[in-house]
C-alpha cells in the first residue's frame, strides 16, 4: 500500500471515529487538512499565482481528492469533511490577512511561510477580512448553521447549489440562510466601524 492510499484510509477512519463521538478525531482531521491546504496554496503561489488568484474551491477539492481519493464517503462524512476544510481555509486566509495587517502597522513583523511570495494587498482589505472573521465568530456562537454556510461560501467560494447538496438543503434555503447571515455580518461590521 503506498503512502497516499494510507492517507486516504486514515481520513476515512478518522471520520468514522467522529461519527462515533470521538472529538479528538476532529482535531486530527483539521490538522491534516490545514497542513495539506497550506502546502497546496504555497505551491500554487510558487507558480506565479497571487493570493487574489487562489482558487480556494479548487484547493479544497484537490485536498479532498488527495486525502479521500477512491474511498466513497457517505454524504454526512463528506459534509463533515468540507466543513472542516472550509474552517482550515478560513484560518489560512485570516492568518495571512492578520500577519499582513500587523506587518503594515509595524508591529511584530512575523510572516507565515505562506506570505513570502505574496503581493502585499492594501491594509484595508486585510482589516476587512479580519473584521469578517471576528463577526463570523459571533455568528458562530448564535447560529452555527449559518456560520457554516458563510465559511463554505466566503472562504471556499462554493456556490449555493454545491452548499445545498453538501448540507442536504434546498438551494432556496441556503440562499435564505446566506441572506440572514450576510445581514447579521453587516450589522457586526458596522459596529466595528468598517461598514460593508
Amino acid at each position: 500500500m503506498d503512502a497516499k492510499r494510507k492517507a486516504a484510509g486514515e481520513i476515512t477512519l478518522l471520520l468514522a471515529a467522529v461519527r462515533e463521538g470521538d472529538r479528538s478525531a476532529l482535531d486530527r482531521i483539521f490538522d491534516r487538512l490545514y497542513a495539506e491546504l497550506k502546502k497546496l496554496a504555497r505551491s500554487q503561489l510558487r507558480y506565479g499565482r497571487t493570493a487574489a488568484s487562489l482558487d480556494t474551491s479548487a484547493l479544497v477539492h484537490e485536498v479532498y481528492l488527495k486525502l479521500v481519493r477512491a474511498e466513497s464517503l457517505s454524504l454526512a462524512d463528506r459534509s463533515h469533511f468540507f466543513a472542516l476544510a472550509a474552517k482550515a481555509m478560513r484560518q489560512i486566509l485570516i492568518g495571512h490577512a492578520d500577519s499582513l495587517r500587523r506587518q503594515k502597522r509595524g508591529g511584530g513583523a512575523v510572516l507565515l511561510p505562506l506570505d513570502e511570495e505574496l503581493v502585499a494587498p492594501a491594509l484595508w482589505q486585510a482589516e476587512q477580512l479580519v473584521a469578517v472573521d471576528v463577526a463570523l465568530a459571533e455568528l458562530e456562537r448564535l447560529a452555527p448553521r449559518l456560520a457554516r454556510i458563510v465559511e463554505l461560501r466566503f472562504f471556499v467560494g462554493m456556490n449555493e447549489t454545491e452548499i445545498g447538496t453538501l448540507l442536504e438543503q434546498s438551494e432556496r434555503t441556503v440562499r435564505r440562510d446566506w441572506r440572514k447571515a450576510r445581514a447579521f455580518l453587516h450589522v457586526e461590521l458596522e459596529r466595528q466601524g468598517l461598514g460593508g
Partner: protein
C-alpha cells in the same frame, strides 16, 4: 444589537425571515406591531433589514479575492426590487397581485369573463421539495369538491417553467370580521361555525389536513357561506398568502391558532385542525383568542405550550364550556375523536337551545 437580544437569535432570525420579503410599507407595519410588545426585538430586526439592503459588499466576494483586490463593482447582490405583476399566466389575464409569501404569490385574474385566483411559485423552486409539495397539493385539491372549500379550477406551468394553481375567486370577509360586522347573535355564530366544521371534516375524510386554520383562511361570502382557502397550500404560500388580511400583521398571530403538538414540531394529525377550529370558535364567541402567544418570546411559548390553561369562556352555559374546553385540550388524545364528533356535540347543544332559522 444588544447582547440581550443576541441571545434571542432564534426569534430575531425568524422575525427577519417573515419580514424580509415584504414591501417597505408592510415591513413598517409589522415592525410597529412587534415594537408594541417587544421593542428590543423590533430594533434588532430593523437593524438586520437595513443591513440586508446594502447592495454591494465585501461579503459578496470571496475571501481570497478580498485579500488582494478592491471591489470592482461587478459583483454584488442582485437588487431586490419587487418585480411588476405579469400580464398573463397560462391563459389567465392577470388583473393585480393580491399577496406574496416567501415561496409563492397570488394574483387576481380573469379568463373568459370569470374571475379566478392564480397562485404561482416564486422563481427558483424548480426541482425542489417545495415544487414537489405544490404538485402534491394540486392532486389533493383535485379530489376536494365541497361548497365550503375554494375549488381548484386548473393548474399548469407557465412559460418560464413555474408551477401555478388556479382557484375559485372568493369575495368575502374573514369569519371573525364577518360575525363582528354583522353583529351576529351567538347561536348564528355557532351555525356558521358548524358549516365550517363540515368542510374540515369533509377534507379529513379525504385524508387531507389543513394545518393552518385561522380566520384569514376562512372567508364568508355575502350570502353567509364560509369558504376555506389555501387548503394544504397555506404551508407553502405562507402568512399573507391571500393578501386579504388586515394591517394587524397576521404572522404575529398565526401561532395563536396552532395546536401545541404543531408548535412543538410533532407530526400534527386531524386533532390539530380540531384544536385550531376550537380557537376560532372561542374567538367567535368570546371576542378574543384564548391564547395570546404572538407577542411572547418563542422560547417561552415553547416552554409553556403544553400546560397552557384555557381561560374560561365568559359564557354562562357549562355544557358549551365543556365542549370547547375538550376540543382545546393540550393533549390531542383528550380531544374529540374527530372534528365530526366535536361538531356533533355542538349541534346537539344548539338544537336544545333554539329553533333552526328558516
Amino acid at each position: 444589537m444588544s447582547s440581550a437580544i443576541r441571545d434571542r437569535w432564534v426569534e430575531v432570525e425568524s422575525a427577519f425571515e417573515d419580514l424580509a420579503d415584504l414591501d417597505p410599507e408592510a415591513r413598517l407595519t409589522h415592525l410597529a406591531a412587534i415594537a408594541l410588545n417587544d421593542i428590543e426585538l423590533a430594533n434588532a430586526v430593523g437593524e438586520l433589514l437595513a443591513a440586508d439592503t446594502v447592495e454591494r459588499s465585501a461579503l459578496d466576494l470571496d475571501a481570497a479575492l478580498l485579500v488582494a483586490v478592491v471591489d470592482d463593482g461587478s459583483t454584488g447582490a442582485a437588487p431586490r426590487a419587487e418585480a411588476a405583476a405579469p400580464r398573463i399566466i397560462g391563459r389567465y389575464k392577470i388583473l393585480r397581485r393580491v399577496g406574496r409569501g416567501s415561496s409563492g404569490e397570488v394574483f387576481e385574474a380573469e379568463s373568459k369573463g370569470r374571475r379566478v385566483a392564480v397562485k404561482r411559485l416564486l422563481p427558483g423552486f424548480a426541482g425542489t421539495e417545495i415544487e414537489r409539495r405544490f404538485a402534491r397539493e394540486r392532486e389533493i385539491l383535485t379530489g376536494l369538491d365541497h361548497p365550503a372549500i375554494a375549488r381548484l379550477l386548473d393548474a399548469g406551468t407557465d412559460r418560464s417553467g413555474r408551477a401555478f394553481l388556479v382557484l375559485e375567486w372568493v369575495e368575502g370577509r374573514d369569519i371573525v370580521s364577518f360575525a363582528t360586522e354583522r353583529a351576529l347573535p351567538e347561536l348564528e355564530r355557532l351555525r356558521l361555525f358548524l358549516r365550517l366544521c363540515e368542510a374540515v371534516e369533509f377534507a379529513h375524510r379525504h385524508r387531507v389536513l389543513h394545518r393552518d386554520l385561522k380566520p384569514s383562511n376562512i372567508l364568508v361570502t355575502e350570502s353567509g357561506w364560509p369558504k376555506l382557502l389555501d387548503f394544504g397550500i397555506a404551508r407553502l404560500l405562507d402568512a399573507e398568502g391571500t393578501g386579504r388580511e388586515t394591517a394587524s400583521g397576521v404572522w404575529l398571530f398565526t401561532l395563536d391558532y396552532a395546536a401545541p403538538e404543531q408548535i412543538l414540531g410533532r407530526r400534527p394529525g386531524p386533532a390539530a385542525d380540531q384544536f385550531s377550529l376550537a380557537v376560532i370558535l372561542y374567538e367567535l364567541l368570546a371576542g378574543e383568542r384564548p391564547f395570546e402567544r404572538g407577542g411572547r418570546p418563542i422560547s417561552r411559548v415553547l416552554r409553556d405550550v403544553d400546560r397552557e390553561r384555557v381561560p374560561r369562556l365568559p359564557w354562562a352555559d357549562r355544557d358549551l364550556r365543556t365542549i370547547v374546553a375538550r376540543a382545546l385540550a393540550s393533549d390531542p388524545a383528550a380531544r374529540f375523536e374527530t372534528v365530526g364528533a366535536f361538531a356533533n356535540e355542538l349541534a346537539i347543544w344548539l338544537a336544545e337551545r333554539g329553533p333552526t332559522p328558516v
